[in-house]
Assembly symmetry: C2
Homo-oligomer: 454 residues x 2
Amino acid sequence: MKQIRLNAFVMNSVTHSYQGLWCHPRDHSLDYKDLRYWMEFAKLLEKGKFDGIFLADSLGVHDVYGGSAEAALHGAVMIPKNDPSLLVPAMATVTTHLGFGITFSVLDEPPYAFARKISTLDHLTSGRVGWNIVTGYLESGAKARGDVQLTSHDERYVIAEEYMDVVYRLWESSWEDSAVRRDRENCIYTDPSKVHRIRHDGQYFKVDAVHMCEPSPQRTPVLYQAGASAKGMEFGAKHAECVFVSGPQPSNVGRRVKKIREEAMKHGRDPYDIQALLSLTVITAPTDAEAQRKHQEYSRYIDRTGSLVRLSGFIGTDLSTLRLDDPIKGLPDNGGIQSILENLTAARPDKAWTVSDVANSLNPDGVHPLLIGSPQTVVDGLQRWVEEADVDGFNLGVTVKPESMSDFVELVVPELQRRGLYKTEYGQGTLREKLFAKGAKTAATHPSAQYRRP
Amino acid sequence: MKQIRLNAFVMNSVTHSYQGLWCHPRDHSLDYKDLRYWMEFAKLLEKGKFDGIFLADSLGVHDVYGGSAEAALHGAVMIPKNDPSLLVPAMATVTTHLGFGITFSVLDEPPYAFARKISTLDHLTSGRVGWNIVTGYLESGAKARGDVQLTSHDERYVIAEEYMDVVYRLWESSWEDSAVRRDRENCIYTDPSKVHRIRHDGQYFKVDAVHMCEPSPQRTPVLYQAGASAKGMEFGAKHAECVFVSGPQPSNVGRRVKKIREEAMKHGRDPYDIQALLSLTVITAPTDAEAQRKHQEYSRYIDRTGSLVRLSGFIGTDLSTLRLDDPIKGLPDNGGIQSILENLTAARPDKAWTVSDVANSLNPDGVHPLLIGSPQTVVDGLQRWVEEADVDGFNLGVTVKPESMSDFVELVVPELQRRGLYKTEYGQGTLREKLFAKGAKTAATHPSAQYRRP
């Protein structure tokens, strides 16, 4: 039986996927600025043998709803939002195995300094770092960077391709494996003949330098990607080692997973060198009835305006101009995250979705699958996803923090283990070795490998 | 009696000020990639009631010596060099009071993302963050960034002025003090009417955005600066709250400190709103004779080529083309760090300095003052500096790591305390409150304060 992979899906902010739950009396979201909160959370995940914690991020604010940042600020809809990378070193001090997937946009940081940041994280965590490659989707982010407007969707992927080329070369080909001698007797740290200057003079980036860091355990971090557009899936099929997929039904998600694996094969890759992780949320309790009651209780705290603020930013369309009973179908695609509207209508094609329906993001019919029930019911659901959609695991949303994750670890993990669907001990080595058991470096068929020196 | 301030002066790399000492059998520099090493070091400093740990940094390699990076790589002369900011969260988890001064160049990172990084660090450390503002001095760093050549010295300060303007506005005026409500009952996190968009359209930077972070304890971090050129000192007198000074004799350092305080007054600032920290290294043991023997033992490990590699990079002149007995005086100023050659000859104006003399960076006559002796002798020396040069404290170099710092904490700190020159307990509050005891925010006369909302 395929071993299910688990990530926790979070953000360095008050809210992330579920708006309003920070107001639940048992919720600890207000502690997001406290390292102890994150360290305890990381320990909880490691107790549950999670593969990783995945930190979403974007520079910019969801100011599409109502044409201003007002509603986002009011409900703390992903603002304030702090830098995710700075949580990792603290969480690394109290864990040994947990992986850290961090989101960075290729538009926000020049590649040379970024490559150093990632290598540093990979060193400090002994090879537990992953990078979720994004290209930004917010106009507000573009303006924060000083751009007049957001670069077009397709051009962003052209930029990303060039960016990958630069960072692969810095990570893989600047320092040979045997470059570092650490020879104290003869006072030779590095053999300079085995360190190479990277020269790149491209359309968007220019670098002429030796990488600042000695080779880290994984060199190239484990690469995550979530693009659902044609360009995005093409990019993911080439570069990603884990893809985040979303969708309401195994049938449509399964089609997407199948397509990614097929595309990967076109790039000469093993289709299972890409693991597909489905965004999904679980609300569990010892019995189905208790879980349903917990769902109802959580749902009372959902901030419906906040949910529309979040969605408006993602799709690039101001939902405040619509009435609550207006249909969702037929909304224009304004260059935001394109799969979201698709998912909404695919969930239940028979249903006429309205703005009001999507405002409730703890709606079991909504954009992300929601499993509510006893450990048995939840594991039945997870197993069905794995079997029907060929996903490798789940990117688990967090509702009431950390209670909902604690429930999962206490109740669902033992049931997964009992059925042989989930590890009882961590594997050895780096994050990549734990996920693929094929070595610490990217596969020979991965585009980064072309730069590796013999 | 003025309370002496102490910082430890380090880098996220194998070597920093002293080349070759990583080969000393008791040295732990090879552990630089291990978070535990840094956490233990931070705990040692907090045990010694140090005000801060100061992390030097520069993107780029010292490739002036011999015209290539070869010698730097061979001796690990500040390469490899990892990202300093990522050490801070881990060190913060095991300390309560220690400050963290981190070096970032205004040329390496766009201001919007940088402002978020600093605010995040200030939140996560409860207000213990300082920023050492630098403008970069390495051609190799410019090429890594994709520039054809290093921007001229004076223009770098023009860029820095504009950069400060942008980040001050993000830190000080985007979110009002009372903007964040954290009102769970009514589910209002922020009062949007108290959050303001920053619009900057300048020569080098453009930003049109709300700051991503809610106000951190200090808002603007404690600002450090080390410029010794005319432009550098002018910039420091305006912006810095701590300046790093260096020089071999109290007389010449004293002149510089006096000048900075006078310049600060021209900007309407209290001359003692700037603390001057002298770069200085201590080698101590219970008796003078033992300290002298320790100095001799350490000196045997100095990598003389490595020292010239370091110096060549700083001054922008290739010292490999000179013979060891060639004079240092009269070397051209190639746009590197201008004060270094000055200091060398000022140390002992009667002496004809040669390349060989400066190759030994543990030379007591050298560019940084070196105090060798018993705790009494060392404190006599420190006290003389404070009295004669009006410095506020010291940025202590580390020789054998962490032994030399452990010696200082065990031996010198108690003697400083016995004489009433040094705190026996930490002050309360943020780093800025501990240093100046005038509140968590920058002084009203500081240029950042103009952006503060009433």
